[in-house]
């Protein structure tokens, strides 16, 4: 249909052509096709915490607190919220909101949703953590709800950005399969689901009763094309109008193509190196030996000077420019500037091989040592090539590095059992410094739920104590100061070696425009016809 109208446009006079193009533009604007690189596994918004699933859920459902493309909290199904007492959060709900099946949205739906979170059978990664801090829910009136917590809990609004509200009446006895069959997937979001073919496509239709800005397209087809080259080809062939996860190798070509427009934004996913902090100073780390391959008898990674040397030996700009082809920014901490918890006064890590060699000598390794650097080869953008580059840079300062890249499925289990000395891994943060601190930096502690992804087992009581204070501090300014202090200490102590923060990239066909976002999700409502 589109090529046809184009051909006609050439045949007739220029004025008529302009009119035709305009008409075609409007006709085109009714439908759009999106191709995403990661499969959506379920339409049940509470079944599996997975970014592709969440992206679809955020198209169909709303949260009490939504977020904009910069991940700032904005009113969603709640119009305002505040802590009315140290342990009580009050949310005012939006009036006159309807679910896709016509049911009215009330506080009962919120109560039901929070009760459902821990009770989704067979969930491989549940949302229960977001309802756990809440000890009691009080419905003041149909549009006012109060959450009581055991301790002051400043992160509650942030948690609410992860909880998609479902219709109590529809979802009360619904299973995950009922959601997948679309029947139960009735939200309040800008698009409603028409049909779903598992692992293949989801068809959306505009929900005209949406409380917010009207969705730009009548219908959106959301396809999953996991093969990078095929996804790019589908865009170039005009079969799809938007793709995400644009492969870095195709990027230069696509930028030159006048029919393609790139949308990008620095995200929140840090790629970093984890180091073995578990073995004590006088113990052997699994993959570290002296230059002759004999056990070293000590763990050099417990020495701050060695960690600094390893960090200073890395030319982050080279990795960003050559390996990542400009699709990342060098990093010295978890969060980019402008995000809550970014340490403003932390200088970039200098690239200084000579200084690194001096530090190694001071630490008692004038001739370096041998180490193996592990990493996945199918998880992060160019992951295997990054560890090769780092391996060469480390070898240059005398730390002779062997590199081993493995599939994520085998790698991640071994990393979680502390089988590596040094390893590359990534972390996609929530826009709050407490998130990486609590998960990656804090001392591993099952009862508190801290350090669950602290695979190097870094532990620093000072950081823990600052984090602890911040988690019950309701005053935003004070809380930020505590988090920034904790982050600064951890980064100066080289708890991990930050490498770079990835850029999220989308590409659209001419005539379409996508609003890039800090989060990696591809949301149908962020695609619109291009302004002419």
């Amino acid at each position: 249909m589109k090529p046809q109208s184009r051909r006609r446009g050439i045949a007739v006079s220029s004025v008529a052509a302009a009119a035709l193009v305009l008409a075609a533009g409007q006709a085109v604007a009714q439908t759009a096709t999106i191709a995403v690189g990661a499969p959506v596994t379920s339409l049940d918004p509470h079944f599996h915490q997975l970014s592709p699933n969440n992206a679809v859920a955020d198209t169909v459902f709303d949260r009490l607190v939504n977020n904009d493309v910069n991940l700032r909290n904005i009113p969603g199904l709640a119009t305002e919220w505040r802590a009315v007492a140290p342990t009580v959060w009050e949310f005012k709900l939006r009036p006159n909101v309807r679910f896709h099946n016509g049911n009215a949205f009330t506080a009962d739906d919120v109560v039901f949703t929070l009760q459902r979170l821990p009770n989704v059978p067979n969930s491989p990664s549940s949302f229960a953590a977001y309802s756990r801090p809440i000890t009691r829910i009080e419905v003041v009136d149909p549009l006012t709800i109060r959450f009581h917590t055991a301790q002051p809990y400043p992160l509650l609004p942030l948690d609410m950005t992860n909880v998609r509200i479902v219709d109590k009446e529809t979802a009360e006895n619904a299973t995950t399969a009922d959601f997948n069959d679309v029947r139960a997937a009735q939200g309040t979001g800008p698009y409603r689901i028409v049909s779903h073919r598992n692992g293949d496509r989801i068809e959306f239709e505009r929900w005209d009763g949406y409380w917010g800005e009207r969705a730009p397209f009548q219908r959106v087809s959301y396809r999953m094309i996991t093969n990078d080259a095929a996804r790019t080809a589908a865009l170039r062939a005009g079969d799809v109008d938007l793709i995400d996860q644009v492969p870095t190798s195709d990027l230069a070509n696509l930028r030159r193509n006048p029919n393609i427009r790139i949308a990008e934004m620095v995200g929140l996913r840090l790629i970093f190196l984890g180091l073995d902090h578990l073995r004590a100073e006088n113990e052997n780390s699994p993959f570290i030996t002296d230059n002759d391959g004999r056990p070293l008898g000590r763990n050099p990674l417990r020495d701050l000077r060695v960690r600094q040397a390893l960090s200073m030996a890395i030319d982050r700009n080279a990795i960003v420019e050559r390996v990542m082809e400009g699709t990342a920014v060098p990093a010295n901490q978890f969060l980019p500037s402008g995000v809550f918890g970014h340490v403003g006064d932390l200088p970039p890590v200098p690239f200084d091989p000579d200084g690194a060699r001096r530090l190694l000598a001071e630490a008692g390794y004038p001739n370096g040592f041998r180490i193996q650097l592990n990493g996945p080869n199918d998880r992060y953008i160019n992951d295997a090539r990054i560890i090769q580059a780092v391996g060469q840079m480390w070898t240059r300062i005398g730390v002779r590095t062997a590199v081993e890249a493995q599939p994520w499925t085998t790698f991640v289990g071994r990393a979680g059992r502390q089988e590596y000395s040094a390893f590359l891994i990534g972390w996609g943060s929530n826009p709050d410094g407490s998130h990486p601190l609590r998960n990656i930096i804090a001392t591993f502690n099952r009862d508190r739920g801290w350090g669950a992804s602290n695979r190097g087992r870094y532990s620093n009581p000072q950081v823990d104590s600052l984090l602890d204070q911040s988690l019950s501090e309701l005053d935003t300014e004070k809380r930020e100061r505590l988090i920034v202090d904790a982050m600064r200490i951890a980064m100066q102590d080289v708890a991990v070696v930050p490498l770079h923060i990835q850029t999220n990239i989308w590409a659209t066909r001419r005539g379409f425009e996508y609003t890039a976002s800090v989060d990696e999700g591809t949301l149908a409502q962020r695609l619109r016809p291009a302004a002419r």
């Binding site: 191709a35 969930s123 997948n180 692992g199 094309i225 080809a233 979680g416 998960n439 739920g449 669950a452």
Partner: protein, 325 residues
């Protein structure tokens, strides 16, 4: 014949059982699905809960017995990722793969047999040499590359065919099929050709070799001496005899096309079983992997059986041996 069938079925059961053990242990050894499935920010309590709810806290032998018990009742487990029965997921995807595989098979026979026959009858003509050189390309070019080239030329440059996906489907026997609509056929063309390329070459080479060998046989010489028309000699006497190896190979190839069209399916985003299995391997969705492999084992056993039975139709000697066995 019955004795033969019963024996074959018993053997098949044993193979299925042995495979279930191998597959189960192998998949178990790859890694821990919870590490992959769980959200990175889940805390320790959440992780333990997930391990328990997926039944992964039991020792391996216990997990296997649970699996075996359910499998005997026709339940091959529930997908960790989709929370739906693994068997249902696979059967949902099967029609897409089947029509692609049969499409490819059809193309390879329709194109491969005549070309092979021609190359066998006139081995020295330039056309035959071109056919044979072409078949080397068909063998040696990697599928994913050819697939991408097809997309680049026919979808991106020429815009004749859609690049990916399955297109419109029509319902037949309660199942969605692409080959019944024009749009679906246009979607099917490139992946089917891509999948057929290797098989065309195979059929060409097998046919050519068979024809070359058979043409020298005494009975062919005799038939010609008897004054039979060349067409009759070729299509009745030669053709029938070269079909045995072709049927065997085509049968087995059909099996591997159905089971392992993974590359083509992912390049063309064809929503078949191949794409399901590769996605499942990436997230270690054990029940789906195990169920898939079990189904594939069953399928190969069935195909082998059918191939053996077809033999006996084509070649009376096999029938006799079958009875004696």
């Amino acid at each position: 014949m019955t004795v033969y069938l019963v024996r074959r079925l018993l053997q098949a059961l044993l193979v299925v059982f042995a495979m279930s053990v191998i597959v189960f242990v192998g998949v178990y050894a790859i890694g821990d699905p919870v590490e992959i499935l769980i959200s990175p920010d889940a805390d320790q309590i959440e992780r333990e809960r997930a391990v328990q709810s997926l039944g992964l806290d039991l020792p391996l032998w216990h997990q296997y017995l649970v699996f075996l018990g359910n499998a005997l009742q026709g339940d091959l487990g529930r997908s960790f990722v989709f929370n739906e029965p693994a068997l249902k997921l696979i059967l949902q995807r099967m029609p897409a793969t089947l029509e692609l595989a049969f499409g490819a098979m059809f193309i390879s026979i329709v194109v491969g047999l005549p070309l092979g026959l021609y190359a066998g009858l006139r081995p020295n003509s330039p056309v035959s040499k071109t056919i044979m050189a072409g078949s080397i390309l068909g063998f040696s070019l990697p599928t994913f590359w050819v697939g991408l080239m097809l997309i680049m030329v026919f979808a991106v440059q020429l815009g004749w065919l859609p690049s990916t996906g399955r297109g419109e489907t029509a319902t037949f026997l309660g199942v969605q099929w692409s080959f019944l609509t024009l749009n679906g056929l246009s979607h099917m063309a490139m992946p089917a050709i891509n999948l057929a390329l290797f098989k065309i070459s195979l059929v060409i080479r097998l046919t050519r070799a068979g024809v070359r060998e058979t043409m020298l046989m005494d009975y062919v010489k005799f038939a010609r001496a008897k004054g039979l028309s060349p067409a009759r000699v070729t299509f009745v006497h030669v053709f029938k005899n070269i079909l045995i190896p072709v049927v065997t190979v085509v049968g087995l190839e059909l099996g591997s096309t159905i089971a392992f069209s993974v590359v083509t399916e992912s390049v063309f985003a064809w929503p078949g079983m191949g794409k399901l299995i590769i996605d499942s391997i990436n997230v270690l969705d054990r029940p789906v992997i195990v169920a898939y492999l079990m189904i594939i084992v069953l399928m190969f056993i069935t195909i082998n059986l059918i191939v053996d039975l077809t033999y006996s139709l084509l070649d009376p000697r096999v029938r006799l041996e079958g009875k004696g066995a």
